[in-house]
């Protein structure tokens, strides 16, 4: 199962053009949803207004070289490892889900456009990446959704209580789970279940990408932007009006190891 391209098997009954067209439609939905959200929520306007304010409050100019270095450092340290979440379970779960999703989506595009259809070569590596990505997404996502969501952890709500903010994570988990189930039943030759999970896989993809306007999908764009702006503001001295880092550490004791907010 792990080394079989599920889309190649599907292409035996459906023309590859339909599968490729579906992927393109999903990409179009992401673009459309993000643009509509930008217009309605005014996130980008807020972001640039904030950047302008920071520039006015800056204590020093940052050169192009330093700016590039800060952006690269932010990408490597903050964005690639989701440093914002601190050291703990939430960060591990997010990193698992994030890299799982990236692998799953990249492998999907490569498999659909490169290895699906008659006369196309067979890859064993990319299907493996597709399956590993889906499994990582499931592990990180279910861990987060069942145990680490703040309304479960800090607000003492039950794990089965679903709110609008769950649209993104649940649709993503549905994609990965039904995708894995579809691949399993297809490779094991169970036509009924294979068809059932294919329909669920397609539906969850439509919900995930069609729901960009309503879901937290766009955090993948805004969060890195906010992290870069934060670090640039630290460097130019504006710091969103925050005080500078304390320069007298030793005299004030050994510090504190804060407890996780889980007292319910």
């Amino acid at each position: 199962m792990m080394s079989i391209n599920p889309y190649a098997m599907l292409a035996e009954t459906i023309t590859p053009l339909v599968i490729q067209g579906f992927v393109l439609v999903m990409l179009g939905l992401i673009v459309l949803g993000t643009i509509l959200q930008m217009i309605h929520h005014k996130n980008v306007t807020y972001f640039f207004n904030n950047a302008k304010k920071a520039k006015l409050a800056a204590e020093r100019e940052i050169g192009a070289g330093e700016k590039t270095a800060i952006i690269l450092k932010t990408v490597v340290r903050d964005i690639a490892t989701t440093a914002e979440l601190g050291a703990g379970k939430r960060r591990v779960a997010h990193v698992l889900g994030m890299y799982g999703t990236i692998l799953f989506w990249i492998a999907s595009i490569v498999l659909v456009f490169g290895y699906t259809g008659q006369g196309r070569s067979v890859s064993t590596v990319w299907p493996m990446i597709w399956h590993v990505g889906a499994i990582m997404t499931c592990v990180g996502g279910y861990w987060f959704w069942l145990f680490l969501r703040v309304d479960v952890l800090a607000e003492a709500h039950p794990w089965y209580r679903i709110i609008k903010a769950d649209l993104f994570v649940l649709a993503l988990l549905a994609c990965a789970t039904t995708g894995l189930a579809w691949s399993y039943f297809q490779s094991s030759g169970s036509a009924t279940f294979s068809y059932l999970f294919l329909v669920l896989f397609v539906t969850s993809n439509i919900v995930l990408f069609g729901g960009v306007y309503w879901s937290k999908f766009a955090h993948m764009i805004y969060k890195p932007g906010a992290a870069i702006q934060k670090n640039l503001a630290e460097a130019d001295g504006s710091r969103d009006n925050l005080p500078p880092l304390a320069d007298a550490p030793k005299q004030f004791g050994l510090g504190i190891k804060r407890e996780q907010p889980k007292h319910y």
């Binding site: 003492a156 969103d240 009006n241 925050l242 005080p243 500078p244 304390a246 004030f252 504190i256 889980k262």
Partner: protein, 156 residues
Amino acid sequence: MSTFVYMTRCDGCGHCVDICPSDIMHIDENIRRAVNIEPNFCWECYSCVKACPNHAIDVRGYADFAPMGHSVRVRREEEKGTISWKIKFRNGTTKDFVSPITTKPWGKFIPKLAEGEKPNQGEINSQTLYTEPKGLNIDGELPSVPKDSFKKGVYY
């Protein structure tokens, strides 16, 4: 004045929910980010502002009191044991202060809440706060005013 949350900064970690002595910092039901559910009951203790690891919480001055844009922001560095304040006045003057978080030895006077007893749903929903009424050093229940004794009509 009351606290508010910068949505782009908040990641919904729940530290503010945990520390708010008035129990008014909660997680929004729609966007899963922190929100002050009762600004009128906020006494600007700055607990949540200090506890926020992402500096996502700020205190808003009322327009009649601070119309020109002042700012009081704080940075708590636990590993250094410091707390720094930046006061920005309306005329642009700024003042920076650095203090120790506490002068008492770490761990001696800070209760380990995670090891304490887990409250039940009734306690979570009740009006009494953590350690109340015992922490208030009173016997029995909190004093209350029966509704029947209220004067009829609107009064403040």
